[in-house]
């Protein structure tokens, strides 16, 4: 949590992000945010993206990215059906928030307005 609070306190005149952009990000992230939360995150994300500009002090022209630290490549295994005890399968199904028999029940994916 640390540094977000730190930036809260910095007064920002020109915010980097607009409310509209925050709404777009929240939609992409599948988060229903309240008006207050939208305002708060607009301010905080603006400060954070201002702050990380300090990374521009570092010359990275000839530097490649590190997406992972193991150096492993093309790790593969046989695509086999694993054995699961009937009891354990039922436990997975018991975790379904909504079901019909042993089937997972969800809202329609393609015709959302056709209730």
């Amino acid at each position: 949590m640390s540094f977000f609070i730190f930036f809260d306190k910095i007064y920002l005149e020109n915010m980097k992000l607009t409310l509209k952009e925050i709404e777009k990000i929240a939609t992409l992230a599948r988060l229903n945010l309240s008006a207050e939360e939208k305002k708060m995150y607009t301010e905080q994300l603006s400060v954070i993206f201002d702050y990380i500009e300090m990374l521009n002090e570092v010359n990275t022209d000839q530097v490649s990215e590190t997406y992972q630290v193991t150096g492993l490549k093309d790790v593969v295994r046989e695509d086999e059906v694993a054995f699961w005890e009937e009891e354990d399968k039922q436990k997975l199904i018991n975790n379904f928030p909504d079901k019909m028999g042993n089937l997972l029940k969800v809202k329609a994916v393609f015709d959302n307005n056709d209730e």
Binding site: I5, L31, F49, L55, T60, V69, T70, V75, V106, A108
Partner: protein
């Protein structure tokens, strides 16, 4: 001394000699939990009935001569790590009813020895925090002073071990979540090299940073656990094979580097600095050691790099927490709103903030200037360490710049809250092993932790020489 205060090694001996049974040991831990948990809030779930059944089974194993080092020893696990048939919430309301039908690989290995799972520990929700004040199940209190934080995000596990509610704990460290609370609570916490321990069954935060490791009462105990849980796992494609290497030092003497940047940082507590410096002075009398000053100039960039990459990986990982196949689903007018409402109600402010930052950093407009830039600077931080490790065997730093702070205090003292993770995140960015060891108390009787960082995949060296250095 009560039996729940013993180390793994001492418990093993006591069980073997028949001084006490696993049931008695388990009961002693359960009694301590009953006495203290209401105040400290270190556990979300306590599996009393199941633990006693497991303990009886362990006693049978011991009687029939099948005792292994962990047989019959009660342990606890951070709630973001899956345990078969036991509630695993990650301190998130959206997972308040989630019961995994499998054990994480590391937990399976421990339980195969007959260890007794006593309960699941409170933590910052999905591991997001440095003080355990971000838990949807309430903050964890520090047993050394209940007005102070436990540290985070594995605060509950550190407190459980510090307060003798279990013999050892298993937790998760993305950017300091094992070492920082271990330092605040006066116990040992190990972050292994990335890729040495399987992450299967550990709820992911940032997949290229996450590690699982032990919180224990001694370095020897940490070594015992690490040897059991390490190893390649076909369920985690990022695990690496580590060949048994002979412990070799780079020179005639073991060379220990002291990175100056860690001692010169603004906001470091003078008392903490002094305790660590005194400890270094003390160990420099050891004739087998040579202490040298080194420089890690990229240190100050570790925090911005850490937060951008971790939030990005986080937002992507947490996309699976959608209340569709498991978790607490909320009503919505359509599928979109089922997702968006379940996530809005089931996650807290900090989790949502990380998701928002990460989604933004990965969006087309920001990708190059944030995520990609941070990954490049990450390369330089790694090179910084590689250069230093050509010269030295280990690095010593303070684990945290201050001792445990007061609950709620950092809201007004922003600079030092920002500093809480500054010494623990660089090793995480580089995938290095690091351990926090308690080395002293402040005048207010608060523990101070010393961090020892090793080079990549040299965990065994880190652990062996930690014992030598500290003789803790």
């Amino acid at each position: 001394m009560n039996i729940n205060e013993l180390t793994i090694k001492e418990c093993y001996d006591g069980l073997k000699k028949g001084d006490f049974t696993s049931v008695e040991l388990t009961q002693a831990c359960l009694a301590q939990i009953k006495k203290r948990n209401k105040e400290l809030n270190a556990f979300i779930s306590v599996f009393e009935k199941e633990a006693l059944v497991e303990a009886e089974r362990a006693d049978e194993m011991i009687k029939s001569g099948k005792q292994q080092i962990l047989t019959g020893i009660p342990f606890c696990v951070k709630d973001s790590i899956s345990t078969k048939d036991g509630l695993s919430t990650a301190a998130a309301k959206i997972l308040s009813n989630y019961v995994p039908p499998f054990d994480a690989t590391v937990i399976r290995k421990i339980r195969e020895q007959g260890a007794v799972l006593i309960g699941k520990n409170n933590c910052d929700t999905f591991g997001h925090g440095a003080s355990n004040e971000n838990s949807m199940y309430g903050p964890v209190k520090n047993p050394h002073d209940i007005k102070r934080v436990s540290g985070g995000s594995s605060g509950g596990t550190a407190v459980a071990i510090a307060d003798n509610m279990a013999i050892f704990g298993i937790a998760e460290d993305t950017g300091g979540s094992i070492r920082q609370p271990a330092a605040f609570c006066g116990v040992v916490g190990l972050r292994p090299s990335y890729g040495i321990n399987s992450r299967f069954g550990v709820m992911p935060m940032a997949s290229s940073f996450d590690t699982v490791g032990p919180i224990t009462k001694s370095v020897t105990d940490a070594k015992i656990i690490q040897e059991i849980i390490a190893g390649q796992d076909f369920l985690d494609a990022t695990t690496v094979e580590v060949k048994n290497k002979k412990l070799k030092v780079k020179n005639k003497k073991l060379k220990v580097g002291i990175p100056q940047e860690y001692f010169e940082i603004e906001g470091i507590d003078e008392e903490v600095k002094k305790i660590i410096e005194n400890k270094i002075k003390e160990i420099s009398k050891n004739k087998d050691l040579e202490i040298v000053s080194v420089s890690l100039p990229m240190t100050k960039y570790a925090i911005p790099v850490y937060y951008i990459i971790v939030s990005s990986e986080d937002s992507s990982n947490l996309a699976r927490i959608d209340a569709i196949r498991y978790g607490e689903r909320k009503e919505g007018s359509d599928l979109y709103n089922v997702y968006a409402q379940s996530r809005a109600e089931g996650m807290n402010e900090e989790v949502k903030r990380r998701i928002m930052i990460g989604t933004c950093a990965l969006s087309a407009d920001y990708y190059d200037i944030s995520f990609r830039k941070a990954q490049k600077v990450r390369t330089l931080i790694i090179q910084d360490f590689e250069k230093v490790f050509q010269e030295v065997d280990l690095l010593i730093t303070p684990t945290t710049p201050t001792p445990a702070f007061k609950l709620g205090e950092k809201k007004d003292d922003i600079l030092s809250m920002y500093l809480a993770d500054i010494f623990v995140s660089p090793a995480a960015v580089a995938g290095l092993p690091a351990i926090s060891i308690p080395v002293g108390l402040t005048k207010k009787k608060l523990p101070v932790g010393m961090q020892i960082i090793g080079s990549r995949l040299e965990d065994e060296k880190l652990l062996s020489f930690s014992n030598l250095i500290i003789n803790y």
